[in-house]
């Protein structure tokens, strides 16, 4: 009888082998599938006088070919690769935005200054002035268009953060359910591993890990606990925690990740802890590249507007009025933290030296125990003082602060983004071409009857605006005998006498600076007067035009163009860097996956061979049963 049962045991095992092989073939391209193999063992032999007689075979288990170490390696590489992928996808948009030189700020900047130069050539020409205004409008539109695009990218990041959070929650839920299912299967499965469920859970963890880097800890009961960040639990056994996309308390325009802690409370997740995965890439891109690009662009717009305005206000327009603001700029607005307990409202404005002092960083003003601390978020440099105004003055970062009203409470903070809205907020403040202040408000003259060779320079109006109230008062400079000194007379000068004269040296009164060169004779008279009807004067336009190449930004080290070029090179460099790191990480993933696949992947040739193997085993076992059957028949025939 044993031959028959041995044959049956072989038949059964071969059948299971065929099923397992078929399962492998069917799942050859199933994501996360680990091939399964049969673990076969011999049945207990029977002791007879002739020794132990084998009793056939049985299948001990169907094992999945799986190495935890190799899988972890894939996970780790994958989280970095996904982060770089999503970073690259975002920064490529800025890279492409800046790719076409003809659609960037550069040509519009050149065109604006070309417009100014045309006004220097034809200061009385309304068409030339109109052309300058139009070029200004184009420049402003270019700033706004670039900024608009960056804002769209920011909105895109915000909504992607929301969808990633939703994805993470969905994965976390499924993993918790699988933990539960695996627990039940193991309990009911007499210690056998539910291979396909384990594969499914591993695959879900791998997918989750593409969204945000996770760490996992396997429990004795077979469930896996999943953590993110610095150990915040996401899944514990069959329990899952929920993430929530929320507005940051510090900056409501920033969607950040919060962790629900029960009772409807949500704790904001520090961005520094969201590392790896698509979400980590998004957060890193926003914090490093997007903020910086938008701020730096805003800084160029603000510096240009403030410089042009300062110069323009020292000039005189075609109607004889003093120049006003040429551009309008958006003043920074400190945003109080949502969690502030005090009533303080802080106001901000650009300082007189903002064009040079502004950086591309954001700032945090915080208050504690009577002390205000201003922190530059790019490098955490900080300044402290007893008042908001004093701390801004001490920091000299291009903006002034005031406590408008109320009282701060300990721990209150305000976010200051001085340059964030610069590119969006710039606008041309004048629309009448005659209002362009191409002339200087004062002019100089040498009296015809002068007998000396002294000449007077055209004169400059002293910065900063507003110009001196007596700028346009008539002032006469009369040389004494001997002409080594002169007397000054005119409202606002204090009428000094016997002022020592040095040829070519600056003479400054009433907010103007002139030089008298050559050798004036005794009795020679020079006058400084209002530039009435001086429509052909282009002195102020020349000074405006000179701003194009002047290094007025970044502490006097950069022109507008070089500051803009810096954005282009920074974005280009970062894109390239992310590309390179991304490629390296992707290669790591490929390698790690290959190693895992070498072990766990399905090879169809191998399975084909296995099919043959089990088919033949099946056929052989069937033959054994047939022979056992015919043996029985032979026996019956004897007695028949």
């Amino acid at each position: 009888m044993s031959t028959l049962s041995i044959g049956i045991s072989g038949l059964t095992a071969a059948n299971i082998g065929l099923a397992t092989t078929s399962h492998n073939i069917a799942n050859a391209s199933t994501a996360g599938y680990n091939r399964q193999v049969l673990v076969q063992g011999t049945n207990l032999p029977v002791l007879t006088g002739a020794g132990f007689i084998g009793q056939g075979t049985h299948v001990e288990t169907v094992r999945r070919v799986y190495d935890q170490f190799l899988s972890r390696q894939v996970l780790s590489a994958q989280a970095s690769a996904s982060a770089m992928d999503s970073y690259l996808g975002q920064i490529r948009q800025i890279d492409n935005l800046l790719a076409d030189a003809s659609s960037g700020v550069s040509p519009a900047l050149s065109a604006f200054f070309a417009g100014v130069q045309q006004v220097t050539a034809y200061p009385t020409s309304i068409p030339a002035r109109q052309a300058m205004l139009s070029a200004s409008e184009s420049l402003v539109a270019r700033f706004q268009a670039l900024d608009q695009r960056l804002t769209e990218i920011r909105d895109g990041v915000n909504s992607q953060v929301m969808s990633e959070v939703a994805l993470i929650n969905s994965y976390a839920g499924q993993i918790a359910e699988l933990n539960q299912a695996i627990l039940l299967s193991r309990t009911g499965g007499l210690g056998q591993e539910p291979n396909d469920l384990l594969d499914q859970r591993d695959q879900l963890i791998a997918e989750l890990n593409k969204s945000v880097r996770v760490s996992t800890v396997e429990q004795n009961d077979g469930s896996i606990n999943v953590f993110i960040g610095s150990g915040q639990p996401l899944v514990v056994g069959n329990q899952r925690y929920t993430l929530k996309a929320i507005e940051s308390a510090e900056n409501p325009q920033r969607i950040v990740v919060g962790l629900e802690t029960g009772g409807g409370n949500v704790i904001e997740f520090p961005e520094s802890q969201i590392v790896g995965g698509t979400l980590g890439g998004l957060v890193a891109f926003r914090g490093e590249s997007l903020d910086n690009a938008q701020n730096a662009l805003g800084r160029v717009a603000i510096a240009l507007a403030l410089n042009v305005n300062d110069q323009h206000r020292l000039g005189m327009d075609l109607t004889g009025a003093l120049g006003g603001a040429y551009f309008s700029v958006a003043a920074p607005v400190p945003v109080p933290n949502d969690d502030n307990g005090g009533t303080a409202s802080i106001g901000a404005s650009f300082s007189a030296t903002a064009a040079s002092d502004l950086t591309a960083s954001d700032y945090r003003l915080s208050y504690a125990a009577g002390t205000y601390t201003l922190t530059r978020l790019s490098d955490n440099a900080n300044w402290t003082a007893g008042s908001a105004a004093a701390v801004a003055t001490a920091a000299a970062q291009g903006f002034d602060l005031t406590l408008n009203a109320g009282v701060p409470a300990n721990g209150d903070s305000f976010l200051i983004q001085p340059t964030r809205t610069g590119a969006q907020g710039i606008a041309v403040a004048i629309s009448d071409p005659r209002a362009i202040a191409a002339a200087a408000p004062m002019r100089t003259a040498k009296t015809l009857a002068n007998t000396g060779t002294g000449t007077i320079s055209a004169g400059n109006v002293d910065a900063p605006p507003p110009p001196n109230a007596n700028l346009q008062q008539t002032v006469t400079i009369t040389f004494n005998n001997p002409p080594t000194t002169f007397n000054v007379s005119g409202t606002g000068t204090g009428n000094p006498v016997n002022v020592p004269f040095t040829a070519g040296q600056d003479i400054q009164y009433n907010g103007w600076t002139i030089q008298i060169s050559g050798a004036p004779a005794a009795g020679d008279i020079f006058t400084i007067e209002a530039n009435n009807a001086g429509v052909a004067d282009n002195r102020n336009a020349i000074l405006l035009a000179a701003l194009q190449t002047a290094s007025t930004m970044a502490g006097g080290t950069a022109s507008y163009q070089s500051a803009y070029s810096q954005i282009v090179s920074e974005v280009g460099n970062k894109t390239r860097q992310v590309e390179t790191i991304g490629e390296a990480q992707t290669n790591l993933v490929t390698q790690a996956t290959a190693e895992r696949e070498q072990m766990s992947g399905v090879n169809l040739d191998e399975e084909a061979a296995n099919l043959l193997r089990y088919q033949q085993a099946y056929q052989a076992s069937a033959k054994v049963i047939q022979i056992a059957g015919s043996l029985f028949d032979d026996l019956l025939a004897i007695f028949g």
Partner: protein, 314 residues
Amino acid sequence: MRISTNMQFDSGVASMNRQLSTLVHLQQQIASGRRILTPADDPVAAARVLEVQQAADVMAQFRVNHDNARSTLELEETQLDSASELLIRAKELAITASNGTLTFAQRQAAATELRARYNQLMGIANSADGTGQFMFAGYQSASPPFSRTIDDLITNGGDVNYAGDDGQRRLQVSATRYIEVADPGTGVFMGIDDGTGGSQSIFKTIADLVGAIEDPGNTGAAFSADVAAALGNINRGLDDVLRVRAAIGSRLNEIDSLSTTADDMAVQYEQALSTLRDLDYAKATSDLERTLAGLEAAQKSFAQTSQLSLFNYL
């Protein structure tokens, strides 16, 4: 080594993808003629392109300023050329009138022509450029700078009125050089040293001469002295005009040489830009060939190896 069937497919596809992306990049470069498609291709060069482009734009603007300055100065030069011819004629007339053999009636012909010349000179001093701006008015170019008729000067004495100022418009013609493109009327027609320590305008000089010629009582030595004084003033006035013309000439020369420099620089900037951003076609096409060959080989080998399967023989 065990190879899973998935890996066999994935690695084949990945290799083809990689080559295809190189191919597309090369194709874009060739189609656009640009080496740098986005700043990431060469961040340093991309930023440098912008800087060089601005320098080229600024230079081109200076070149426009040169043309503006040249046309303004040439217009002024034309007017001053007429003025100097006119003053030379006035000198001839003064010399004719001073001929002692002429009767009072005979010398009136010179007075008549001098009057016409006075008005002509007034026209020159009050001339406007192509945009209706008065050239010799300083900053106050909206209204004619010189006034008073010759009769007014002869009858009531005094000098012409100048309603302009000393303003002198300049244009930027290089990074550091601003060049004067106008001369105020005071420097051209006024402030002539009258030989006695005072100064007067060229108009008063002519008016005085005409007054002397037309005065029947002014004869003999006194008349000769008046004409001699007028001649001296006309000569000094002519010197002033010639001095301004010479200054204009040297400015025009300077502008010409700056323009030549600017044109040379423009070529250099163009070359610099080309080096920075333009594609080396020879290299790009050879790269393209190589990548194409690589991709074709990858496709062919993938097609062949992917057909290998034990199942084909079962």
